[in-house]
């Protein structure tokens, strides 16, 4: 009895899970594996369109005779790169209309012109003409002839499904494209973005954890940057920071803080002189990091606040008795209590910031020294139109991600489940 029940249970479980698992497999797991396949191929953006034989039908009247017509089919291979094999063509003619002197490749059967054109190489073009006439020598309505669309088909290799592989993409990624700088920029962005967001999150959480008038309102607005759509926020910041008539630059110039507007998002380096040392600051990258911190500190805030509210009150009361001030209370009670959540947050946010695409893309598009790995995927795949290269960069990201996850689960995986 119990074994049948558990069988039913199993079957139900699989039925309930199947749709979700299939969908996730198709849209998330399959592409990750497909990346591996594509990354070993030389594929451009234009190759992924499957080549098709195409025909444009033009009907022309012939002088001195309205019972005859010339039909021109402008035939072409839609692809400039790939061949099409065994192209077949068929077009239907209206009743009582027959072709005259039909091309050798074609035959006329049951009102249909059927042709076999053989193989078309890449970029093949031909003007294929047939003359038709009415059997009873009546006038032909050319619109009537034109109304039917020709049907073409042929066989072609889908470049994605062939088995020629190359290591060229990976060679390009690691050797030709200044991979080290790309990696350093990504890590710089990720590390400081994560650290800044967490520090600001601690401040905000500590603040909201006190009692003051308007506290709930404060808690709501602290989440605004994260809840708002990234497109709107990124463009607002772009306008704020714009060197020509952006609000912040205009204000700074107005109050005489700076003489000339600074292009915060478009200048790669800012050279600062401190005690005779020249410091080169990655200006655009720093600005992007600040945006990142601004947008994602609410998440850190939310987690840290939840943890702060769980700290037992009597710890603070005991500290009050001992006469400890607020700063001491923070360093000796609060901080030790939140270290575990901070480490988890740091790891998780690190992984997510590592993959951030939208923010940098919308602010700078990867220009002026803000090119990170995810932006590079887009640039290679869609700006330079080299799908294979884009996939190769994706693979690098996935491999690094797996490394981070292993570290994450080794270090704090168990702790994470307790929270």
């Amino acid at each position: 009895m119990s074994s049948t029940l558990s069988k039913i249970e199993k079957r139900t479980a699989y039925t309930l899970l199947l749709p979700a698992v299939c969908l996730v497999f198709a849209i998330i797991l399959f592409p990750i594996f497909a990346n591996v396949w594509i990354s070993f191929k030389e594929v451009g953006l234009k190759d992924i369109r499957i080549p098709e034989p195409r025909a444009k039908k033009i009907v022309k009247n012939i002088q001195d005779s309205n019972s005859e017509l010339k039909i021109i089919y402008k035939l072409r291979n839609s692809s400039l790169i790939q061949d099409i094999r065994e192209v077949r063509f068929s077009d239907k003619l209206p009743k009582n209309i027959e072709p005259v002197n039909l091309d050798k490749r074609c035959e006329f059967k049951s009102q249909k012109v059927k042709c076999f054109f053989g193989d078309w190489e890449a970029g093949y073009r031909e003007n294929f003409e047939i003359f038709v006439k009415d059997v009873n020598n009546n006038a032909i309505n050319s619109k009537y002839v034109k109304s039917n669309k020709p049907d073409l088909n042929g066989k072609s290799n889908n470049i994605l499904l062939t088995t020629d592989f190359t290591l060229k993409n990976f060679k390009n990624v690691f050797i030709n494209n200044n991979f080290f700088e790309l990696l350093m920029t990504t890590f710089y962005f990720t590390f400081f973005g994560t650290l800044g967001a967490i520090l600001l999150g601690i401040f905000a959480a500590q603040l909201v954890n006190q009692k003051f008038y308007g506290r709930t309102f404060m808690r709501s607005i602290l989440l605004f940057p994260y809840v708002g759509p990234v497109v709107a926020l990124a463009y607002t910041w772009t306008l704020l920071l714009d060197p020509n008539s952006g609000t912040i630059n205009s204000l700074l110039v107005n109050y005489g803080v700076i003489e000339k507007p600074i292009n915060l998002l478009g200048q790669k380096y800012l050279i600062i002189n401190i005690l005779g040392f020249e410091l080169k600051l990655r200006l655009a990258l720093t600005t992007v990091i600040f945006f990142e911190i601004w947008r994602y500190f609410p998440l850190a805030f939310l987690f840290i606040l939840a943890r702060l509210q769980a700290i037992p009150r009597d710890l603070y009361e005991a500290a009050d008795v001992d006469g400890a001030g607020p700063f001491r209370k923070f360093f000796y009670i609060t901080l030790p209590q939140i270290t575990s959540i901070l480490s988890i947050l740091f790891m998780i946010r690190f992984i997510w910031n590592f993959n951030k695409f939208e923010d940098i893309f919308l602010l700078t598009g990867g220009a002026s020294g803000t090119l990170t790995l995810p932006i590079s995927v887009y640039q290679q795949g869609f700006a330079i139109s080299n799908i294979g290269m884009g996939s190769a960069v994706s693979i690098v990201i996935v491999l690094l991600l797996i490394t981070f996850m292993i570290i994450y689960f080794k270090l704090i995986g168990k702790k994470a489940n307790e929270i």
Binding site: K10, T12, Y14, L16, L23, F224, P229, L233, Y235, F357
Partner: protein
């Protein structure tokens, strides 16, 4: 007498007041007042004087009378020593000082004589400053976005820091950007598409995730632990590594430029977190209720529909709002998959607007307001649910 704590109090409070006044001044500049000097040192001295008088008077006087007189005299002194300014600016200064002196209520010489008081006072003013700082840093861009959408191109070019709204114009002139984006740029259609995609994603995600979450939470089957760990791992994989294969496959299947394609992708990317959130909640429902249902002759389907769903409405609301937010704000896939203006979502449409460098910025900001406002309103109204959704799914983002 503890001079250290007295001096620290004076410095901390007067620096705080000066900064607040500076911020007020900068905000006033954005309303068209032509200030060009913050007068930081002068105002610091003034504030110092104010704090000293306030502390010296202490509790010898009626509090409300004291703060009123002090604020009034300070405001007059301030207006006299600084540039000419309109009435509303001075009223603002007056209110700020009223608020500030009210904060100083308990500070008299006796209070400052306690142990460890200086640290407490610094902390208090730091907190006050932090409130102002966070509110400013967060709301400023939203404020600029909103205000810019009511300006005209010429006004912005003539004086980029004057963001005041000219109420003397008629209502059509003020809201012109909004009329333009709805008429010329067809934003009505994009709002519909965005709503359709977001609501559709929520419904499909719920349809798939509720049964799956129930199975993970309640039923025993082979591979259960593996499945629940892989949900979290899958969730960690970012959209950017999926984009190229999905783009190629969708191109070949003709699913690009279709809202349906977008729906499939959004659903799949939000499914793992939806399952993860729901199964946690389902586990907290007492098993006995379901067993009673089983005895009444319900099958699994009946149990999910009649027991689980009604009992877990709060969790379902959280998941729905979170998924809605993700779908509404999503940008990467809509950028990749949609190039036909007929299928644009709001985010994609705004991105398309910026593609043309000639697009005036007030239209761009009006578009941004249109995409931001609904999600912020939803957030404010359903804050409780959305916050719990954010906390559960917040590892992502």
């Amino acid at each position: 007498m503890k001079f250290k704590s007295l001096i620290i109090t004076l410095l901390a409070s007067s620096i705080f007041l000066t900064i607040i006044i500076c911020i007020w001044k900068i905000l006033a500049t954005l309303q068209g007042l032509s200030f060009s000097n913050l007068n930081f040192n002068l105002n610091l001295l003034l504030s110092l004087g104010l704090v000293i008088t306030c502390v010296l008077i202490g509790k010898k006087f009626n509090h409300y009378l004291k703060i009123f007189i002090l604020s009034l005299s300070f405001t007059i002194l301030y207006t006299f020593l600084n540039e000419n300014s309109p009435m509303w600016f001075s009223v603002g200064i007056f209110l700020l000082i009223l608020f500030f002196t009210n904060k100083l209520k308990k500070y008299d010489l006796k209070y400052l004589n306690q142990d460890f008081i200086s640290e407490k006072i610094v902390f208090e003013f730091l907190s006050l400053f932090a409130i102002v700082f966070f509110a400013l840093v967060i709301l400023f861009p939203f404020y600029i976005m909103f205000v810019t959408s009511f300006k005209t191109q010429t006004a912005l070019l003539i004086n980029p820091i004057d963001l005041s709204i000219d109420f003397s114009k008629n209502i059509f002139e003020i809201f012109k950007s909004y009329f333009v984006i709805f008429k010329t740029y067809d934003f009505g259609r994009y709002i519909l598409t965005s709503s359709y995609v977001s609501v559709g994603t929520v419904l499909i995600t719920l349809f798939f995730s509720i049964p799956a979450a129930y199975a993970v939470a309640r039923l025993n089957f082979f591979g259960k632990t593996f499945l629940s760990t892989s949900i979290l791992i899958i969730y960690m994989f970012p959209a950017i590594v999926l984009v190229i294969p999905l783009y190629t496959v969708f191109s070949q299947l003709g699913l690009r430029n279709s809202v349906e394609g977008l729906l499939i992708v959004y659903t799949a990317t939000t499914l793992p977190v939806a399952i993860y959130m729901l199964q946690g909640y389902f586990k907290s429902i007492p098993k006995e209720i379901e067993e009673a249902g089983l005895i009444d002759g319900q099958n699994w389907f009946g149990i999910i529909i009649k027991i689980i769903i009604p009992l877990s409405l709060p969790a379902i609301a959280s998941v729905s709002l979170y998924v809605f937010m993700i779908a509404w704000n999503e940008f990467l896939f809509s950028l990749m998959f949609l190039d036909n203006p007929k299928t644009f979502t709001l985010s994609r449409a705004i991105n398309h607007l910026t593609g043309d460098a000639e697009t005036p910025r007030q239209y761009l900001m009006a578009g941004s307001v249109v995409v931001t406002l609904p999600i912020l309103l939803i957030f404010i109204y359903f804050e409780k649910y959305l916050v719990s959704g954010l906390t559960a799914g917040g590892v992502k983002g």
